[in-house]
């Protein structure tokens, strides 16, 4: 049983993070942007777990646990904000949310 080198996991994590970043920068649907952010969070999680494996420490896994909890909180609050915005403006297209733009 040959273990996969940790650098492959880091490469995969970087690719996923890049895909998520492209999505977060180019999508205009607010929920799609949120999905891309979740993708980036997961890529960061993969890096943490990979390093925990490499270093033989559990700290990385505990941090991933916290990241998941924060992601849940972020998703709940963010989606509630989108519901509130949708009530007011009947769209969640971020290009039309220009209330706080200079």
């Amino acid at each position: 049983m040959s273990a996969v080198p940790i650098s492959w996991y880091l490469l995969l994590s970087a690719i996923l993070f890049g895909i998520g970043a492209i999505g977060a920068l180019t999508r205009r649907n607010g929920i799609a942007i949120f999905l891309s952010v979740e993708l980036m969070l997961n890529a960061a999680n993969l890096t943490l777990v990979a390093y925990a494996r490499q270093l033989g420490s559990h700290t990385g896994q505990v941090i991933v646990f916290f990241v998941m909890a924060v992601a849940a909180a972020e998703a709940a609050v963010g989606l509630a904000l989108f519901i509130a915005v949708f009530r007011q403006r009947h769209t969640i297209d971020v290009n039309r949310m220009n209330l706080m733009r200079w």
């Binding site: 492959w8 996991y9 970043a21 180019t26 929920i31 505990v62 849940a72 909180a73 989606l79 519901i83």
Partner: protein, 214 residues
């Protein structure tokens, strides 16, 4: 064998991640995100973190994504409308920015001495994979952050509830519920649907608010 599993699920994760960011319909994007999260759970297990793999499936794929689906269906989000700005320029700018960003990542990894296809890590031990060691870390060393995360979730729940309320909606607290005096309850039996002799007239409401009752 492990290498085969890794490449299979890595390809699955990357493919479904591309679908997440490219598909026009938010529903398909979300369902594709489920696939990404599940294949990453497999990778977590492969890395000797079965607890995180389980949490990934239960919390991420099970709860957070379902929340996304509920909101998408609640808002009845349609596909993105036709572009009214130059999408090509925006896309290429994003790609160039991300490539520059990943280049910085790569430089950082390179300087720490990591190389693609470097030596494989130590084989997994029973002690590293055991749930007990994770629990000792989580509830011993990181007990205070753990409690603070619980507080954060509580704040998030309250904040989400307040933010999603309809502005100006009546306060649905117990005080506003009608309190029926005994014998005044409206008849609900559908079989006895004649005119209700006790039906309230306009002048005499069938219920009294609690304030009136006091």
């Amino acid at each position: 064998m492990e290498t085969l599993i890794f490449f299979l699920f890595a390809a699955l994760a990357v493919g479904s991640a591309i679908v997440v960011v490219t598909h026009k319909s938010p529903i398909y994007s979300t369902l594709s995100l489920v696939l990404t999260l599940l294949s990453m759970a497999v990778l977590f297990v492969l890395l000797g973190a079965p607890f995180l793999g389980a949490v990934q499936v239960l919390v991420y794929a099970g709860a957070i994504v379902v929340l996304f689906l509920f909101v998408i269906m609640l808002l009845n989000v349609q596909k993105e409308e036709a572009a009214h700005v130059d999408r090509g320029a925006q896309l290429w700018t994003a790609i160039v920015g991300v490539i520059a960003f990943l280049g910085m990542f790569w430089l950082a990894f390179w300087r720490t001495g990591l190389r693609i296809g470097g030596p494989a890590p130590q084989p997994l031990t029973q002690e590293f994979v055991a749930l007990r060691t994770v629990a000792v870390e989580l509830f011993g060393t990181y007990l205070l952050p753990f409690e603070m995360v619980g507080l954060l979730l509580l704040v998030a729940v309250i904040g989400a509830t307040v933010a999603a309320r309809r502005p100006g909606a009546p306060d649905n607290s117990v005080d506003d519920l009608p309190v029926y005096a005994s014998g005044d309850e409206p008849r609900t039996d559908p079989l006895r649907s004649g005119p209700d002799p006790r039906r309230p007239s306009v002048a005499e409401p069938a219920y009294k608010t609690k304030e009136a009752n006091v």
